[in-house]
Symmetry: C2
Subunit: 437 residues, 2 copies
Amino acid sequence: MKHVDTVIHADWIITADLNNTVHQAHSVAIDAGTIQAILPAEQMSQHYRGRKEHDLKGHAVMPGLINGHTHVPMNLFRGFADDLPLMTWLQDHIWPAEAKWVSAEFVEVGSRLAFAEMIRGGVTTCNDMYFFPEVTAKVANDIGFRAGVGMTIIDFPSSWAENIDMYFEKGMALHEAFKESPLIHVTLAPHAPYTVSETPLLRVKELSETLQLPINIHLQETAAEVDDFLDLHSVRPLQHLNKLGLLTPSLIAIHMTQLTDGEIELLAENDVSIIHCPESNLKLASGFCPVHKLLQQNINVGLGTDGAASNNDLDMFGEMRTAALLSKGLVGDPASLPAETTLRMATINNAKAMGIDAITGSLETGKAADLISIDLHSIETLPLYDPVAQIVYSVGRDRVTNVWVAGQMLLKDRQLTTLSETDLCEAVTMWQSRIKS
Amino acid sequence: MKHVDTVIHADWIITADLNNTVHQAHSVAIDAGTIQAILPAEQMSQHYRGRKEHDLKGHAVMPGLINGHTHVPMNLFRGFADDLPLMTWLQDHIWPAEAKWVSAEFVEVGSRLAFAEMIRGGVTTCNDMYFFPEVTAKVANDIGFRAGVGMTIIDFPSSWAENIDMYFEKGMALHEAFKESPLIHVTLAPHAPYTVSETPLLRVKELSETLQLPINIHLQETAAEVDDFLDLHSVRPLQHLNKLGLLTPSLIAIHMTQLTDGEIELLAENDVSIIHCPESNLKLASGFCPVHKLLQQNINVGLGTDGAASNNDLDMFGEMRTAALLSKGLVGDPASLPAETTLRMATINNAKAMGIDAITGSLETGKAADLISIDLHSIETLPLYDPVAQIVYSVGRDRVTNVWVAGQMLLKDRQLTTLSETDLCEAVTMWQSRIKS
């Protein structure tokens, strides 16, 4: 009999492993933050005993969801400006508000709010990019949340950095501070080809190679972006990155609503990962990422919410549902983007994009214990014929009961364990009053 | 001082009246099932006292959502067959399952499940069509839910009726039984032009005129339906109904994903109402209802989930969100279908379609007290800049705390008052086992 930290018994264990294995009446043993074994419940009780045991009848246990693209501090701008044309939204509302309000304190409260929202919604990891990333990284680390945190690079000054050298300097300090952290995965995050010029992009490339870091970049998000870039540079943004040698397996291209068939081939040849953000793309009327074609070319496609200012939530259950439904509608085929594939996009595909698929993204022995439990015995989720389809098409994030990151329980019976909900709501309400005034 | 049944105080009262009035720090007085007054909180406490008073800090109160198109008994087929081409889904799964399982008992349990789900999700009224409608009507009436219940008419025999005469006979009995009911609104529900021939359609028209009943019909749901109809009848389904004189303000045309500009004019001229079912249309890849164009022509457009077999929930918050996001994406304009309009589609527009807008669909003195409260003070719904946008873009149905229909509280602090959740889950699980086997 082996004694371990935690044993979880559940009616279904959805692994998101290579075969999309779904075990019935199995158990997961966790020790020192790592998955030790996944066994039939009877075998488990013969071989493992948990110092904590969770008997989750009617529950499914699955890998924690990964939010492939976020700007977590922007949670404080949730619902700040809706139903506006993109440029009005950005130029008249979001950018002035950012210029006025974004500070270390803003980022600290916004990050807490976003992590709290994501934990309550079954998300265990996000892939973030924003100003003051060292604050976001510290908050994530303190509360036990796994986060990719981007070294933001942009040509323009901000309250965080005055010039391009400062962005790199502060970014490198972020990397230094967290390079040994098991929870914080620093990435390079040049904002977009239209906001980061050639020299810094080449430096990003070099740093990515030297430090083995992934590169997050907003890419071909709107038709206007592509047209404007073409006018200025006589080349589309993706081709520009190609010329600079940035199309590699380290590249995480976010949005990609504007893609020619030739560009899709180019992405496939260079093993670039794409993050699809369907709700943000819909809300800002940015266009449609051709997920179906990308998957047909075996391109790794993950899924993200984008920031709460353009979504307006960080709900990955909702995002899976929207992704699956939208693809069916656009392709004209109800078999396009089935539930199983959608679940992979929100878990292992995102981990692969971030270069952390050896650590997280699926439930397999030896991986970090990043997992969640979902109560499927409810008015909203009965009857139950297929747990994976139910999770994608019927489950609301309020059905998430428990969340573990690296074996630590961050949500227990729907209560946050490392954050005070009351204090957080109070801090957010204070920021709301300030911003509203 | 006037004594009334109930007084509700809330931070926001969203009325969905003609001016889309949103009151702050107001109260609603309810007596004998009817809204008596909406006043500033201070004035209310000077003039009205409730035998029950609800002080809902941080809450919004709004009209109960109306689900404009349902097949409630099909809740027992939730997730029964997903990710399949439409005809495989219908012919190999849904129709055989219906032939095998649909009975009065099936309809009774499925209806209970659907009403429970809708009440917990802030829906106070639905507009249903299915077999054994007298069973659905009785369940709704017993639990205090407001329902449009369709006299289903279809050329083919079913477990409910052997032939077309029987459909009319049973339908008329339904109408007789519930014509005095304040909660049950019987409608005519010929299934679709391709499943109901000319003679019964003309009889439906006559009954609609004589009895002043609305007519629900699935119409131009898919391109294939239109093409097949054209092949057989040399006319599109909508034109067919026009020739029969069915295009009147009593007509509720459901789906309408295939529409020419000329047809939109025809709908506008005849004051036909449309029910948009975006999630079902996406999931079955049926096409896109041109909501933006319809609204531009001042056509009354409501919103519905369709049955749980093709959605897979009866979540009207999710449906509002999908409708708003999808329209922006398709039209290419983030200002298309703003939150305020979307909320009207899910409330007063549906009431108007059903011909019950004098009774429900907005919070106005003299109307039935069909209303819900939503707790907006939460991690998921802060900060709060605009309650209407928050409700459409960020609120999950789990934030609904209380639900009243005609003044009766059907949900109290998220607990159902007229249905037992435990008994219901048990009954549904039994049906699940049967259907699965």
